[in-house]
Each structure stands twice: as C-alpha cells, then as structure tokens.
Amino acid sequence: MLRSLTFGLLLMPLVMLSAAHAHGPTRQKVMETVEIDLPAEKVWAAIGDFQNLNWHPVIDKTEGKGGNEPGAKRKLTLTGGANIFEELLKYDADSRLMKYIITEVDVKVLPVNNYSSILRVEDLGGVKSRVIWKGAFYRGYMNNDPPEDLNDAAAVKAVKGVYRGGLDELKKKLEAAG
C-alpha cells in the first residue's frame, strides 16, 4: 500500500479536481482471510475493538469516540502521518463482526471512494479460527476513463495490500504470543 501511496502522490494533483464529481463506475469487492491457530475469542480480543486498529502494521495511532456502538468514530494515523476517518455502522460481539465505512480519506492515501468494510472472526472449532476482512468500494477516480493509478485495479490492489499486510502480521504476532 505504501508504495502505491508514494506513486499516487506523484500523479494525483491533475485528477483531484474532477474526482469529487459523481460515482458511476463499478463497485469493487475484495476479501482476504487468514487462519490462525488460536480460538476465535482470543483473536477477537486482539482485533475486536473499533477504537484500536494499532494491531495493523501501517497504523500508528487510533483516536476516536463512541466505543463500539454504531455511530462511533475513529481517526487513524498511518505510519507516514496521513489520516483516515472511519465510522462504525454495526457491531456484533456474539458473531465477532464489525462493519464500518471510511467517511474521509484522500485518494492519495487510499485510492477508493464510498468504502465500506466488514471485519469478522469465524470460529473453526477448537483452537482454530479464521479472520475475514471484506471491502466494498469504488475506485479513486469517479468518472469514465480513469488514470491508471486511480482505476479499478489500483483500488483493488491497494485494499488487498492493506488487508493482506494486516492479516499476515496479525497471524504472526498472535501465534508467536500463543
């Protein structure tokens, strides 16, 4: 993701002006998962707090209010200093699921629009679980004929990168800690 961030920074200013206009391109879907050799409760305990995304390697800081109630807000600070603002839509501790949206992000940071996401931990029985991270979003450029760094592929690649990076690191950390 970070690579696409820097890349985006170079090409962005030209297209920013018209990008706010409207959507119409096709919404994209991404799902990444990881199996972890730990019970689902334990994994949820590590990632189930909306007010703490610091388990993700590119997140430096999570600040917010509203706890884990629908409507709660958080401000993420990335390692490079950029911010992403998010809002919790749905929280279900029993099914270990949260759903949230990005309310504000610069497409230079993450080349997406109208982004929503579900993070969930599935119980695979015994000491095994699966973390499922799903996203739905439009590309960074909302009109026809997007530049390459703001097209569907770029958006999908960036979101996949965020999910993959987070999930792989999570597995490593949690399994090492036991």
Partner: protein, 331 residues
C-alpha cells in the same frame, strides 16, 4: 310502441357496440398484456462483477440459466410481454437486449457514456435509459431497437420509472437532488421536483398516485405526490438506501450499508420493521400480487425473498458475483 321499438333497437345497437368494444379490447390487450396477468415465474439477476445475467426459477428456487453480458450489467427492465429483457451495461456503454425465452442476447445498442437505470413504457414498449454521464434520458424504439430521441434531465440520472397509465416518465437525478417529470408523449420535461439528497432508485405505485425515491445521502425515502408534482414527506430509513419496492400498503427499502430492508407503512409513513438480509442489498422488487419481495444482495451474492405478510426472509439462492438487478426484474 314506436318508442319501445326504437328503444329496443338502441339497446341492441349498444349491446353490439359493447361486444365489439370488448372484443377489440381483448384483441388489443391479449398479445401484449396477456402474459402480464400471470404470476411471475422467474427473476433475472444482473450480476455485475461476474458480467452475467442469471435466471432464477421462483418455484424451485434454482438458477436455471446464466448468460454472459460483458460491460458490468446493472439496470434491468422487461418488455410489456416479458419476452425481452433490457439490461444496461455501463462499462460497455450499451443497452443489451435479451430474448428471455431463448436466453440469448439479440442486440447491443450504444447509449451515450453511462447507461444505468432503465424502464419500459407499459403501452408502446419504448425503452427509457438514464445516462449517468450525459445527464439525459435515451429513448429507444422497441421495433427498430435504435435510439430515437434524447431528453436532457438533471445531473446524473440513475433510476427511471413510468406511470402505469404511460403518461409520465420519472427520472431520479442523483446529483441534482430532484426527480424530473417527462411527458411521455411529447418527451418534454414538464417539472423537476426537489427530493432528498442523492436520489437513486425511483418507484411509482400501482395507482400512479405516488412516487418514492431512495436517497443515498440523506438516508431517507422521499414521498412524491405525482398529481401535485410535490414532495410530501421524507421517511428516514437505514444507511445508504438504494431502491424501493411497493406491496400491500408498504414500501420496502434496501439499506445498502446496514444490510436491512426497511419496511415503511405508507399510511402513517413510519418504519415498522427492519428486516436483516444479505450484505449490500440493492435491487428490490415486489411481485404483481404483492405477496413476495425479491432482493439482490450485491456483496452476499444472493437473491433473497421476503414474505410480504410475515416480513420474514423465506428464501435465498446464491447467484453469480455482484448481483444488482436495479429495476423491474421479475417475469
């Protein structure tokens, strides 16, 4: 007596005329409207990411056919006799005409830059296609299958609906926060009615009295009196409402972000229930009898059925990736 004879003659003449009228009526209506009276047997699902249209049998609840439709199909409408489906393919910038019995694409018609919502005139079968990027409605002739006219509307029209009497075409102009009223005969815009923020789907009731828009940004449904050409009320629903279906005095609204269908009682305009459905519910439609509601869930990859009486989900079938079915998709 003379009077009596005259009266009898007049009565006979009236009877003959009436019979002729009824016969003519049948002759006119039977070929085009005959099928419409039958209950729907199939749902046609536009699966946007899979680039397919899937046919779902509503009795066996199975996918019976899938046909390839390149160009990220989204909007759908059927001809009055249900023998054709008109599907918009925004990325191909086309309206795709499908023979619903042969299950085959019979024509692709170029439509501007962003075809999205589509509706069909109930009488003459003309096809109205909203063009998101060109801010106009394309009118397609059902015989020649060519674009015969354009009507400029507000910014980024998305949903389209035609009144049951065929008099008016309505477009939800998303970025103008309004509904355009177009005279279907003259193809002139006669009114622009302000609604909530970013209206997407627009649905007209069977009586042709009211229209409802799902407003993506203000998270509500606008209730429009068609005769007055005025918005009467706004009803708050779940986050990011997409489209509205109507059955037995209720509106069913897909709330994309919160995975529910909000049910509005149309008498007191209150939400009486939020039904949990699959993730990202989008296209929604009621059958003619008002017995069941069908919902395409884009993220869940399902078509789901809601019982309009019990308000419970009573069926679900997996369909190809990214079902949207934005429009009237039952046949």
């Amino acid at each position: 007596m003379a009077f009596g004879v005259k009266k009898a003659r007049v009565e006979r003449a009236v009877a003959v005329l009436a019979a002729a009228f009824v016969f003519t009526l049948f002759a006119i209506l039977a070929p085009s409207h005959g099928l419409v009276q039958e209950a729907e047997r199939e749902a046609l699902v536009t699966s946007q990411l899979a680039e397919k249209v899937a046919f779902v049998d509503l009795a066996t609840w199975k996918v019976t056919a899938e046909i390839a439709v390149p160009g990220k199909p989204a909007g759908i409408a059927l001809s009055p006799d249900r023998r054709r489906a008109y599907v918009t393919a925004p990325e191909a910038k086309q309206l795709v005409v499908i023979d619903t019995q042969e299950r085959a694409v019979i024509k692709r018609i170029a439509i501007g830059n962003g075809p999205l919502g589509v509706a069909v005139h109930p009488g003459d079968g003309r096809i109205f296609v909203a063009d998101w990027y060109d801010h106009r409605l394309a009118v397609v002739d059902p015989q020649s299958l060519t674009v015969t006219a354009h009507v400029t509307v507000g910014e980024s029209p998305s949903g389209v609906a035609v009144t049951p009497d065929g008099r008016l075409v309505l477009t939800a102009d998303r970025d103008s926060h309004q509904v355009s009223f177009i005279d279907a005969a003259s193809l002139r815009v006669i009114k622009a009615v302000p609604v909530g923020e970013r209206p997407f789907g627009v649905t007209i009731d069977a009586a042709g009295k009211r229209a409802y828009t799902a407003n993506v940004k203000s998270n509500d449904v606008s209730v429009i009196d068609i005769e007055l050409g005025k918005t009467l009320a706004a009803v708050k629903v779940g986050r990011r409402p997409y489209a509205v279906a109507l059955a037995s005095g209720r509106a069913f609204v897909t709330d994309q972000y919160v995975e529910t269908v909000s049910v509005i009682d149309l008498k007191d305009l209150k939400v009486i229930k939020k039904i949990s459905v699959g993730a990202y519910p989008e296209g929604i439609v009621a059958d003619k009898a008002g017995r069941f509601i069908y919902v395409a869930c884009w993220e869940e990859n399902t078509l789901e059925r809601i019982d309009a009486r019990t308000l419970a989900v009573t069926g679900s079938v997996t369909v190809p990736d990214g079902p949207r079915s934005f429009g009237a998709f039952l046949r």
